[in-house]
Amino acid sequence: MVLKDVLTKEAKTAFMLGNEAIVRGALEADVKMVAFYPGAPTSEVLDTFSAALDEFDYQMEITSNEKVALEVCAGAAFSGVRSLTAMKSVGTNVASDILFVLGYTGVRGGLVIVMADDPHAHSSQSEEDGRFFAPNAYIPMLEPASPQEAKDMTKKAFEISERHRVPVIVRTVTRVNHQSGIVDLLEFNRKDFKKVKWNQLGEKYVTLGEVARQKKLKMLERTKALSEEFETSEFNLVAHADSDIGVITSSVSYLHVLEALKILGLQNKINILKLGTTYPLPKKLISNFIKKLKKVIVVEELSPYLEKEIYVLSKDINPNLTIFGKLSKTFSEAWEYNPDIVATGIALATGSKKPNYQTIILKAKELKNDLPDRYPTFCAGCPHRATFVALNQALKIQVSKGQNHYFANDIGCYSMWIYPPISHSDSSLCMGAGVGVANGLSHVIEERVVAISGDSTFFHAGIPALINAVHNGNKFTLFILDNSVTAMTGQQFNPSTEFIAGGRKGKKVLIENICKAIGVEFVEVVDSYDVKNNIEIFRRALDFDGLSVVISRRECALYGDRVKRRKGEPIVPFYVDKTLCKRPYVCLRTFYCPAYELDNDKQPMISRELCDGCSVCSKLCPLHSVKRVEVKK
């Protein structure tokens, strides 16, 4: 298995996920401090480091948000210790305050920041192009295309970081993090962890006003030196061909380009420049590449980051160059690329024959007519479903009594409330913004604002917004769905869990204590599965003339199942007693549980394989026809 490959002391080849290759690279580079807040597509970096913790001597934290993670790593790096963090693109927004400062102060020990963009917003609220952080913060950036490169660049990034005393960004995209391939592993050369004597280092990390102005000049010099160094980096590849056409590309787009050239029969017939160091750019290398070309095709996902630089460089070196990219409308700034999109673009630019995908897609569309969608939904046993069933009932009663609502959802598994068949939510934005916008809304709308947060989201960015509400006397109701873990990204531990990185014992932080300590006057804690009683409590919270907080608590079903399996406890499913069921479909209409299907008589039926045994549906059935399967003793 792969963890074994991440841990193995021998040099060998292994099949690895991009994220695992990053971990292996950092371990080969003797990383000593790692800290993360989870976020797809980087979560497996955290998970792998956590699983491997007992085998190594690095320090690890699963932090409350990305800014804290980067600060943890900065603290270690100030002391000369190699450290690494990984975050999704939108996580970098949260961490950016400290990121920009680190550009000024620099570091002593290697500090590597893996930043993963998510073209296509597969698992994000936006398609952000994080590359612009690098020039903006004057922080060097490397971009791998494959798991092998992800490993090599991570390792090299530590060296660059220490040589130039600056953090280094390794920027990936989903198709690199979640790409697996064959990776060459090298031997470990790790030294024992030892605490540093800070006073002996003679280091200082301050920046403000005049100090900042001086540091800015140093930062510019540093960037110049990096730019020189990157001119000859092994991560920039040039493939020459007998042609006046060239492709400039980076990241996974490079692999799509190779595939596309094969599809078009243009292999080895076009020049290729693949850039691995994308800030600062190796401008001489690029200039030399475009000097004699008639056409250059720039293949990069999201914004025209490379393309605009190429326009600038071509102005002096080759003003007649025709540049094909996003500005020429050869490619789109939207969504992720694949071999088909890239082949179509290159065909357009080179005047080659386009592959005929349209016929295939049209025929496929015919076959897919009426195929049911499969939206992500709450898992069987998910406590959020139970909370929302009670909340829906409570809201309905409130509406009948004249109280209407704004529903401010947030980012977590509970976001799935926005998908059909439920499709309920007035807003779902970014982490913690549910409580945040509730503040503003409560001043200006007539309806009662209902805000949602998860435990992880509350710790991440919800607390300042709630303190703001208390201080300003804002009136709304916040439901905190405390399922003990950060579920959506793979059930990582958070301050609401009694465990920390590596499954070691930690201290659980109680959300109700925070709420009470900051002065929230209405705080109730309920069991999410107790739907019937919760309806009344939720209504009281909604009627409360002030700020009310309800903490709905029950651990994530997937996490709970894992704990049960480890302890050898059975998961006992339920079934529908056909002799009692009269098909009012209350279960199906209110519950939308994936364990439910209709049988041939259109009678509800529970799949034994999928049922989690949570019992919630059995308590809601008006005919008491949902029963627990008898287990033979």
Binding site: D340, A364, R374, Y375, E597
Partner: protein, 214 residues
């Protein structure tokens, strides 16, 4: 030479493990492999897919449209969702199991005009317009026979291993199954593998080239 396998199913069906096992077997037998994996969010029940590419002249982690030699569908309806990736006359290894999403059920109970579930027959009829090389596998039954209902994914590994165009020798696949699954379930997984293999010989090898039976 290269081989493209498109794998799809529903979250929780073990696509990650299936991919791992084949990947490890390739690594151990000196074959090049690259995969692009899309697991969606970490909830169960969403659509998941893996692009798998074995061979020396593949580059992108994504299979170009119309170039998959084989499609493995751990859930029947999912085969249609990604059908554009399969070559004309490509091979489909498909579970006969359909997992109806809640949205489909809710439309049926709310409909006045007697909507029915999307059926296995409908899936097969449509797939036949694309290819005739379809093996329908009762993977849940075979998994139960193996002693562990969670081995549906391993049943498909068995099916795949029977095919001549699958370039990895059986012994490597079995070895990586042994390495990858929990210790207690190794025997059941190996049994599921054999049952899957046998199933392929019975249902598919009459139409497409298979390896020598061992």
């Amino acid at each position: 030479m290269s081989l493209n396998v498109f794998i799809c199913g529903v979250g929780g069906q073990g696509l990650v493990l299936l991919t791992r096992v084949i990947g490890d077997a390739c690594a151990n037998s000196g074959k090049k492999i690259v995969t692009g994996e899309m697991y969606g969010l970490s909830q169960r029940s969403g659509a998941v897919s893996v692009h798998m590419r074995i061979g020396d002249d593949v580059f992108s982690p994504l299979i170009p449209i119309g170039q998959a030699d084989i499609m493995i569908a751990l859930e029947a309806m999912e085969s249609l969702r990604y059908i554009e990736y399969l070559k004309k006359d490509g091979i489909i290894l498909m579970n006969n199991r359909i997992m109806h999403p809640p949205i489909e059920t809710s439309k049926i109970i709310d409909s006045k005009n007697k909507l029915e579930y999307f059926s296995l027959d409908q899936v097969i009829t449509r797939l036949k317009k694309w290819t005739s090389n379809i093996a329908i596998v009762d993977a849940l039954k075979l998994a139960r026979e193996s002693g562990n209902v969670r081995t549906e994914n391993t049943v498909f590994l068995g099916c795949l291993s029977a095919l001549k165009i699958f370039p990895v020798e059986e012994k490597y696949v079995k070895q990586s199954i042994t390495d990858a699954v929990p210790k207690k379930t190794v025997d059941m997984n190996l049994k599921a593998f054999e049952l899957g293999r046998k199933n392929a010989y019975d249902s598919l090898c009459t139409q497409v080239a298979c390896r020598e039976k061992t």
